[in-house]
Symmetry: C2
Subunit: 283 residues, 2 copies
């Protein structure tokens, strides 16, 4: 999946050799130029892959998604695959095509136009106890069904999955939230429906300091401190800051404004990557 598609999004993808072939969905946070203008070029490139008429590409986003796509697709005519626009209001969850079990969620933020934060949730199966399964006489061929949460019959007895599975385990949750003013909806969304927080929050941090906010109109973005506060209050485990104002010539110089509130903060940069892993639960 790809969240937002600003100008030049293809450049780092190409530099890293990340193909577009298996793109399952594009999620757009809002319909501002700097978040969507790379879309026609990306779609044209995707049109040069094998993707065909039987592989529609869903594009999710808030209003005015359809008007924006109507304008953008003028510049990407004759695509060999269909576009499936899905207008979201915030609060919806849906599966990510092609990635079993992975769920996408969204929440309405507070910006000058409708704007959504997105979450990506990867579930984790409960621990399976092979010793216990052996004791209960379950043949190895049936273990997969138990691991999937199905009951199996062994010699006339029913073995419920609870007999061989441990308690539920937290999976992974990633949240991206840009652009927004401070809003209680953000930490609430970071915390997630089960209240366990997020492994990584990638957040708008346009302003280094409070005094960087514009004087003439209400600021539409977060300061470093406001992003850090959302991470702390939402129970995030890590925070990446992004979407810096062009006036912020050295974003890293403001890092302490965030770490004073939320120590596990990284100042984002082009090409920043991270591998998220399930937490070590002693198993």
């Amino acid at each position: 999946m790809l969240i937002d598609c600003g100008e030049g999004t293809q450049v780092p993808l190409r530099a890293r050799g990340w193909g577009l072939r298996n793109l399952g969905a594009i999620l757009l946070t809002h319909m501002h130029a700097d978040h969507i203008l790379g879309l026609p070029g990306l779609l044209l490139t995707l049109g040069h892959t094998e993707r065909g008429a039987d592989e529609p590409l869903p594009i999710y986003g808030p209003e005015p998604l359809l008007a924006a796509l109507r304008a953008l697709l003028l510049f990407a005519p004759r695509l060999p695959f269909p576009i499936e626009p899905v207008v979201l209001a915030g609060g919806e969850t849906f599966p990510l095509a092609g990635a079993e079990g992975v769920q996408i969620g969204c929440a309405a933020l507070d910006h000058e136009v409708p704007c959504l934060a997105y979450s990506l949730t990867i579930p984790r199966a409960p621990r399976f106890d092979p010793e216990r399964a052996r004791v209960l006489g379950v043949p190895v061929a049936e273990w997969k069904r138990l691991q999937r949460g199905e009951a199996v019959e062994v010699g006339g007895r029913v073995v419920a999955p609870g007999a061989v599975l441990g308690p539920p385990r937290r999976g992974l949750r990633l949240v991206l939230a840009t652009d927004t003013r401070p809003t209680p909806a953000l930490p609430e969304f970071v915390r997630g429906p089960d209240g366990t927080g997020s492994d990584l929050l990638i957040a708008d941090a346009m302003y280094g300091d409070e005094e960087d906010k514009p004087k003439r109109w209400r600021a539409q973005h977060l300061t470093f401190a406001e992003a850090a506060t959302a991470a702390r209050d939402g129970g995030a485990r890590r925070l990446w800051l992004t979407h810096f104002s062009p006036a912020l010539s050295e974003p890293a110089a403001y890092l302490d404004r965030a770490t004073a509130i939320f120590p596990a903060t990284t100042v984002g940069r082009d090409g920043l990557t991270e591998t998220l892993t399930f937490e070590d639960d002693g198993g």
Copy 2:
């Protein structure tokens, strides 16, 4: 002036510290995505300069310029300066605002949509002979008028500019031509109305070789050899090749296809710059 504005056009401008403040005109060759999608972002950035309501920005281009701008400007609303679209058919010439004497010309190329080549012409004044002006008794204060081509009166006699000015001198002519199939209109435009050719031709060279051309439809671009032929036949003094196919992983490997026809060829790259100077006429 800026010719075309693809995705990410702002990035190298910013890297070089080239401001947008004095941008006199934007010239669009045609309305394809890869030539215009950087426009909204660039205009939004220009909106953060001092440019105000009294400084309209002309945007020139062929049809469907107005439809394209209507779509693109959805993503750059509330600009503090007016846009002045000028639809061109090819063949027009007009002055570049803010650059005295500089003329822009255009010619229709042969592409799947209307597409223009542009020329930038910088005139050169004839040589002024100060010795001759002194002999004729023209006071130094009046020399500027003679240099501008005006006659002056000295002690009841009229001194015509021709008395102190040498023959006309060739100025500078730059031509940019992309995207196009081979067309006789290109060398003709490179040669220019006075037949003296161009100092630099920047030309479409999508295909390294004839066999790189698509098989399923008529090629819409030039090969290295076709671009070199246009440069030779149009009397260009230098040629830059650009607009390489993404399939051309190493464009420089094809340079000999061009130099066999036109030796003064350079394979273009991001950030390539050149200072053009008037030819040495022995003065």
